[in-house]
C-alpha cells in the first residue's frame, strides 16, 4: 500500500512534538521517553516496509496531499511524497538504521541529563530526513534538507556546556547553510525557467536547456558537497564528532551526510537535458570532486589518533566514492554503496561508542590496546566493520565498492578508476591500523586494562548492524531490478567477476597486509618523515587556509565595523537623539509653571482662538 508513505515522516514528527513540547510540561520517566522515541521510528520503519511491499510497477507514484498555488501563473508547489525505488531505499535505510541506533542510545545515554531532549532531536532528524528523501519536489526537499541541518546543529552541540561542541555545531550549520543557499538558487532557476520545481514537471522536459541544466546541477552539487562533506566544504564533519557517538553514527555516517548523494542521484535526469560536451563536463566535475575528496580524506585518516576522527575522515572518503560513482554514471552503484556503507559505518561507530563508554570516555587510540581479549564481542563487530569497509568478500562493502570501481572502468574513466584503487588501498590500511591499535598488543593505559562492561541494548544493536554488514551484499543479487530504476548509465549491478574486481581485491588485501606489518606487533608509531606526518595531520593545510583566508578577515571586518560605526558613528547619533529629547522635554516642562494664573491665561488664549475661528467663518 503505497498510500502508507505519509506515515513514515509523520510518525517521527509526532514523536518529536510529544517529546519536545509535551515533555516540557508533563513529567516523563525515562522508559516512556525511550518508548516514544524508539517506538515512533519503529512504526515508521514498519510503514516504510508496508509502502515498499505495496509498490508495484516501474513507474513512480506521486502521493500529493496539498497544492499551494502561491506562485502566480504557472504551477503551484505540491506537498506530496514520491514513491519510487530510490526514495523507498532511502526511507528503509534511514528508518531501519535509525531504529537500531535509537535502541543503542537508550543504553549509551542512560546517564545523561538531556535524555528526553536527545530523543526529541533524534526524532526531528528522522522526520526531516524522511521528508527529504521522499519529497516530490525540490522545495519540499529543501525543507527537509534545512531541518536535517538544524537537527545536526542541535545534536552536535548537544552538550552545550562544552565550548568545543558549540563551536563545532556552529561550523556545521554555517557550512550547511552555504549548501542550502546553493540549492535555493537552483530552485529559483527552476521556477524562473519552468515555473515549477517538482520532479514530474522538471524531468519531462527533454531537450534544449543545456545551460540551465548545467547551472542547476552545479548549484545542486555545491549543496550536496556541503551536506556530504566533500571538498572544499568538508571541514565541519571531523569537528562534528564532538556530539554523542550514536549521533555521529546516525547522522554523520549513515544517513544525513548521504543526503548529498541522494540529491545527485535524484537529479540525474537533468543530465539528459544537457548536450554532449556539457554532460561530459558535469560527469567529470562530479567524479573528480568525489575522487579528490576520497583520497584527501583517506590520507588524513591515516594519521589520526582519535578513533572517531578516523571514522569521520573515513566517512568523507567513502562519500567521495559515492560521488565518484555518480560522476561515472553508475547511480545504482552509488546508492548500493550508500546502503552498505550505512550498515558497516554505523556498526563501526557503535562499536567505537561501546569502547569509548567502556574506557571511561577515552577516545585516543594510543591509550587503548589489548582489548581483543578483554572485549571480544566488540572486537568481532569492529573487525566485521573493518573488513566490510576494506572491501573484503563476502562482506557487503566488497560488492558495493567493486560496483563503483567496475562502473568507472566500464565507463572509460580510467584515471578515476586508478584513484579509486589507491583509495581502496589506503582505506584498508587505515582501518587495519585502527583495529590493531585499538585491539592488538598490550593495554597502554589503566582504562584499557580494565574496561567497564557493556549494556545489553548497546551490544545487540551493534551486533545486528554487524550482521547486516556481513550479509548486506546479497541485496545486490536479490533486488537487481529494484536498483535498475536509478537511471544508471550503462549496465546495472549485475555482479560479475571482472578484472576490476580482482584488482581491487588484491589492492585491499595488500592494504591490510601493510597495516599488519606496521602495527601488528603492538607498535604505535611508524617511521615516516616528520613533515609528511604533520602535513597530513594538519589536514594538508586546508583548515589553516580557511582560518586565515576567511575567518580572520571576517573578524577583522567585524571589529572594524564596531569601532567605526558603533563607537564612532552610531553612538554619536544616539547621543544626539537622547540630548534632543532631553532638552525638548526640559523646554516643554517649563510650561508647567505650577501657577494657576498661567494656566488660566492659556485657557483664555484658547477661547480667543476659538472666537477668531468662529468669526472667520468657521465650520459652516
Amino acid at each position: 500500500m503505497v498510500e502508507a508513505i505519509w506515515l513514515v515522516p509523520i510518525l517521527p514528527l509526532a514523536g518529536f512534538v510529544v517529546l519536545g513540547l509535551l515533555g516540557q510540561f508533563l513529567p516523563m520517566p525515562r522508559p516512556l521517553v525511550a518508548l516514544i522515541g524508539c517506538g515512533s521510528v519503529a512504526l515508521a520503519f514498519v510503514a516504510a516496509i508496508v509502502t515498499a511491499v505495496g509498490y508495484s510497477g516501474p513507474s513512480a507514484s506521486d502521493q500529493v496531499y496539498y497544492t499551494w498555488t502561491g506562485l502566480g501563473s504557472g504551477g503551484g508547489i505540491n506537498i506530496g511524497l514520491w514513491v519510487d525505488p530510490l526514495s523507498l531505499t532511502m526511507l528503509l535505510t534511514v528508518t531501519g538504521v535509525s531504529l537500531l541506533i535509537h535502541i543503542y542510545s537508550i543504553g549509551y545515554m542512560a546517564d545523561d541529563e538531556g535524555f528526553r531532549r536527545y530523543f526529541a532531536y533524534l526524532n526531528l532528524f528522522v522526520f526531516a530526513m524522511c521528508l527529504l528523501a521522499a519529497a516530490d519536489n525540490y522545495l519540499l526537499l529543501l525543507l527537509g534538507w534545512a531541518n536535517v541541518g538544524l537537527a545536526s546543529f542541535l545534536l552536535i552541540g548537544f552538550w552545550f556546556s562544552r565550548p568545543r561542541a558549540v563551536q563545532a555545531a556552529r561550523l556545521a550549520i554555517v557550512v550547511n547553510v552555504i549548501g542550502d543557499a546553493a540549492i535555493m538558487l537552483a530552485i529559483f532557476l527552476f521556477i524562473a525557467s519552468f515555473g515549477s520545481a517538482s520532479y514530474t514537471d522538471l524531468f519531462k522536459v527533454t531537450t534544449g536547456n543545456s545551460g540551465l541544466a548545467v547551472a542547476a546541477t552545479l548549484l545542486l552539487l555545491i549543496g550536496a558537497a556541503a551536506k556530504s562533506a566533500q571538498l572544499p566544504l568538508y571541514i565541519w564533519l571531523p569537528d562534528a564528532m564532538e556530539g554523542p557517538t550514536p549521533v555521529s553514527a546516525l547522522m554523520h555516517a549513515a544517513t544525513m551526510v548521504t543526503a548529498g548523494v541522494y540529491l545527485m542521484v535524484r537529479s540525474a535526469p537533468l543530465t539528459a537535458l544537457m548536450t554532449g560536451p556539457d554532460a561530459a563536463l558535469i560527469h567529470n566535475v562530479i567524479g573528480w570532486v568525489g575522487a579528490a575528496t576520497a583520497i584527501f580524506a583517506a590520507t588524513i585518516a591515516l594519521v589520526q589518533r582519535d578513533i572517531k576522527r578516523v571514522l569521520a575522515y573515513s566517512t568523507i572518503s567513502q562519500l567521495g566514492y559515492m560521488f565518484l560513482a555518480v560522476g561515472v554514471g553508475a547511480n545504482d552503484a552509488a546508492i548500493f554503496h550508500l546502503v552498505s556503507h550505512a550498515f558497516f559505518k554505523a556498526c563501526l561507530f557503535l562499536s567505537a561508542g561501546i569502547i569509548i563508554h567502556a574506557l571511561g570516555d577515552e577516545q585516543d587510540m594510543h591509550k587503548m590496546g589489548g582489548l581483543m581479549r578483554r572485549m571480544p564481542l566488540v572486537a568481532t563487530t569492529f573487525a566485521i566493520g573493518t573488513l566490510a569497509l576494506a572491501a573484503i568478500p563476502p562482506f557487503a562493502g566488497f560488492f558495493s565498492k567493486d560496483a563503483v570501481l567496475a562502473g568507472a572502468y566500464a565507463g572509460g574513466y580510467y584515471a578515476l578508476w586508478i584513484v579509486g584503487l589507491i583509495v581502496a588501498f589506503l582505506t584498508a590500511l587505515y582501518m587495519g591500523r585502527a583495529f590493531l591499535l585499538t585491539f592488538g598488543g598490550q593495554p597502554r593505559s589503566e582504562a584499557a586494562a580494565h574496561p567497564h562492561s557493556t549494556g545489553l541494548s548497546m551490544a545487540w544493536t551493534t551486533a545486528a548492524l554487524a550482521l547486516l554488514s556481513l550479509g548486506g551484499g546479497v541485496i545486490a543479487f536479490i533486488f537487481t531490478d529494484w536498483f535498475a530504476g536509478f537511471g544508471t548509465v550503462g549496465e546495472g549491478i549485475a555482479f560479475s567477476f571482472s578484472i576490476s574486481s580482482i584488482i581491487s581485491l588484491v589492492v585491499a588485501l595488500a592494504g591490510l597486509l601493510v597495516a599488519y606489518l606496521l602495527y601488528g606487533r603492538g607498535q604505535t608509531a611508524v617511521n615516516v618523515p616528520r613533515w609528511l606526518y604533520n602535513a597530513a595531520a594538519q589536514g594538508w593545510g586546508l583548515p589553516t587556509l580557511y582560518h586565515e583566508a576567511i575567518v580572520v578577515p571576517l573578524l577583522a571586518l567585524a571589529r572594524a565595523i564596531v569601532v567605526f560605526f558603533e563607537h564612532g558613528f552610531l553612538e554619536e547619533i544616539l547621543h544626539e537623539v537622547r540630548t534632543l529629547f532631553q532638552q525638548g522635554g526640559k523646554l516643554l516642562s517649563r510650561g508647567q509653571s505650577g501657577a494657576l494664573r498661567n494656566y488660566a491665561l492659556v485657557v483664555l488664549l484658547g477661547v480667543v482662538v476659538i472666537v477668531i475661528y468662529a468669526i472667520s467663518g468657521g465650520a459652516k
Binding site: A595, R597, N598, L601, L604, L605, V607, V608, V611, I612, A614, I615
Partner: protein
C-alpha cells in the same frame, strides 16, 4: 428719551461695578461691588421679562453666594493686593491684552453676525418668559437636566458636610475638620 437715558444708566452701573470688582485692591470692597453688579443684572432680567429668574438671581446669587464670599474673605485675610504690584509682569501684560482682545472679538462677533439686531426686546407677544412657560419647559422638556442638577446639589451638599464634619472628639482635641487635615 428718558428710556434711553435710563438704559444707559443701567448699563453704566453694571459695567462700572464689574470694573470695580476687578480693580479695587481691598477684597471686601470687591464683594460689595459684586453685589451692586448682581442687582443691576437682576434689573436687566426684569427688563427682559424673565421674572422668575430675576427673583432667583437676587435670592441665590445676591443672597446666599455673596454671604459665602463675605465669610470666606473675612476668614482668610481682609487685605488685598493691587494689579500694578504684580510681580509677574509678563502675565499681567499678556493678560490685559487678551482680555481686551476677547472683548473686542466678542463685540465684533455680535455686531458682525447676529441677525435680528435692532429688535427691541422683549418681543411683544412673546410666549416665553412667563413663569408658567418657564415651569412647563422645566418639568417637561428639561426634566432630566433638572433632576441631574438636583443630584449635583446633593453631591455638593454631602461633600461639604463631610468636609466640615467634626466629631466631638476632634473638637475636644482641637483638631481641624476632616477636610482640612
Amino acid at each position: 428719551m428718558i428710556e434711553a437715558g435710563a438704559l444707559f444708566l443701567l448699563g453704566a452701573v453694571v459695567v462700572g461695578s464689574a470694573l470695580g470688582v476687578v480693580i479695587v485692591p481691598n477684597a471686601v470692597y470687591s464683594v460689595l461691588f459684586l453685589i451692586v453688579n448682581l442687582l443691576g443684572l437682576a434689573v436687566c432680567f426684569l427688563l427682559l421679562n424673565a421674572v422668575f429668574l430675576a427673583a432667583a438671581q437676587v435670592l441665590i446669587y445676591a443672597g446666599a453666594i455673596i454671604v459665602l464670599f463675605l465669610f470666606s474673605i473675612t476668614l482668610l485675610s481682609p487685605g488685598g493686593e493691587h494689579i500694578s504690584a504684580d510681580p509677574r509682569r509678563w502675565q499681567r501684560n499678556v493678560g490685559i491684552v487678551i482680555s481686551v482682545a476677547l472683548g473686542a472679538l466678542l463685540l465684533f462677533l455680535i455686531f458682525g453676525s447676529i441677525t435680528g439686531l435692532g429688535t427691541p426686546l422683549p418681543n411683544s407677544g412673546a410666549t416665553s418668559g412667563t413663569v408658567e412657560g418657564f415651569g412647563r419647559a422645566l418639568f417637561q422638556q428639561f426634566l432630566f437636566p433638572f433632576e441631574i442638577t438636583s443630584f449635583v446639589l446633593l453631591v455638593a451638599l454631602i461633600g461639604t458636610v463631610i468636609y466640615g464634619s467634626n466629631t466631638l472628639e476632634d473638637i475636644r482635641r482641637g483638631r481641624l475638620p476632616r477636610g482640612e487635615r
